[in-house]
Amino acid sequence: MAKSESEMTWKDLEIGNIVTEPGSARVYESGTWRSQRPTYDFKKCIKCGLCALNCPEGCIAPNKDGYFEADLYYCKGCGICPHECPTRVIKMIEEVE
């Protein structure tokens, strides 16, 4: 959408308010919800991908080195990934102001 949500007029609406852009919620920064964040000790990582499979946000993907890392734009800091990591790569730390 070109317009911001709050600027939309009734004429901007698709028929039936249908949303035509799949996956458009990707613009939403769910990372603002986070109170803690994952940190990594990639040396231990076996690239098994279990962290990614078990992230409710679906925000973990291989970084440029092929290590699985959270996208903090989305990560809500639930702390699941450290629990699923078989090799204890991940640790949660408090967000700071």
Binding site: W10, G16, N17, T20
Partner: protein, 391 residues
């Protein structure tokens, strides 16, 4: 060429639906709608109609299945009545704002309690805020013609709204009468293929039914309102086009000896036909009385109504429903509201008649006209009058 045949109106409606070649029919039986859906089931069973007939487990699911079907881009039909319409109430409300062009026949019948399988308009009134286009018919021919017309209106790209075609239970649904049927070719020409613009389709995913926070809800509802109001011109075009092709004309407000008449009665649905016999007789007796009948209930034909009553001094409005503890007859109430600011508007007398299958006969209508004139002249204690209740 159109053929004239005798047919039970319900069967005729089903045959009309068949001519429209729907893809999906989802319906639940209820008297007096049953013959419509039974005949459709029959047509599917014999192969005369190639459609999926979904024998759902309730009316709520009937219309819900229709939502899914229409959203997938299929031509979709259902029919119900009374309790069925009430049971699907929540679903009725969502079809219009979702812009799903479903066509539904409603065999009008009283709402319980007490249970009655007989006719009145309480079911019709229960959905008056739902945003469906609503056409009310007064004889078999109108019911059948408007079933075909309904698909054209609903699926018009400028409209994309669900349409209800109301026909009185029993008084229409169960009567065998002569009907002119168009041919398949004629219907094919009149009714273009369905092409819902944004269907559910993996090739081009869309999301239908997002929830709307306060920043946008009111805009969405206003868009809906503008849309149904604007459908008026498409409806008129469809009726014009229908007349050109088939020779039968439909108008939002039908007139019968109404031009110039000082006294008008206003009817909606099949009782209008009986009433017009009364009008004939009264005119023969020398009374300057005419009739208007409301065919287009939603969008409400403000202009046509005002035009039709502009010369009248007395307007006697018949309702077949009561808004209990409220304004009495809903039609009369809306008519008064519509005329409220008109200069030189008629006196409006509101009569509730024919609830739950009670007949209003020719002499009943004559009686009402005479009493109505009297009330207009001398006033009444009542917010509205009711006719035929045993005291």
């Amino acid at each position: 060429m159109a053929t004239r045949t005798g047919v039970e109106v319900s069967v005729g409606v089903a045959d009309a639906v068949k001519l429209c070649n729907p893809d999906v029919i989802a319906a639940y039986p209820i008297t007096p709608q049953t013959h419509i859906v039974e005949h459709l089931a029959e047509l599917v069973a014999t192969g005369e109609l190639d459609a999926e007939y979904i024998p759902v487990e309730s009316e709520h699911s009937a219309l819900s299945a229709c939502l899914g079907s229409a959203a997938a881009g299929a031509r979709t039909f259902t029919a119900t009545s009374s309790q069925g319409l009430a049971l699907m109430n929540e679903v009725v409300y969502v079809a219009a704002p979702m812009r799903l062009p479903i066509v539904m026949s409603v065999a009008n019948r009283a709402l319980s309690a007490p249970l009655s399988i007989w006719g009145d308009h309480s079911d019709l009134m229960s959905v008056r805020d739902t945003g469906w286009i609503q056409i009310v018919t007064e004889n078999g021919q109108a019911a059948i013609d408007n079933t075909i017309i309904a698909f054209r209106i609903a699926e018009d790209q400028r409209v994309l709204l669900p349409v209800m075609v109301h026909l009185d239970g029993f008084n229409l649904t169960h009567v065998v009468e002569p009907i002119f049927f168009p041919t398949q070719d004629e219907v094919d020409k009149f009714l273009p293929k369905n092409r819902f613009p944004l269907p559910l389709n993996p090739d081009k995913p869309v999301a239908m039914g997002d929830f709307a926070p306060p920043f946008i809800f009111m805009e969405a509802k206003w868009a809906q309102e503008v849309n149904i109001r604007d459908s008026r011109k498409v409806i008129l075009q469809a009726w014009d086009e229908f007349e050109k092709t088939f020779g039968r004309k439909y108008l939002p407000v039908e007139k019968y000896h109404s031009d110039g008449a000082k006294v008008l009665i206003m009817t909606m649905g099949s009782s209008g036909e009986t009433a017009s016999v009364a009008i004939d007789e009264l005119r023969k007796e020398g009374l300057d009385v005419g009739q208007i009948s409301l065919r287009l209930w939603r969008p409400f034909p403000f202009e046509d109504l005002r035009e039709a009553v502009k010369d009248a001094e007395v307007l006697i409005v018949m309702d077949r429903a009561i808004s209990y503890g409220g304004p009495g007859g809903p039609v009369a109430s809306e008519v008064k509201a519509a005329l409220y600011s008109q200069a030189g508007k008629p006196k409006v007398v509101s009569y509730v008649i024919s609830l739950g299958g009670r007949d209003t006969t020719v002499s009943g209508f004559k009686d009402i006209v005479k009493k109505g004139i009297d009330i207009a002249a001398r006033g009444s204690q009542n917010e509205y009058e009711i006719y035929g209740v045993k005291e």
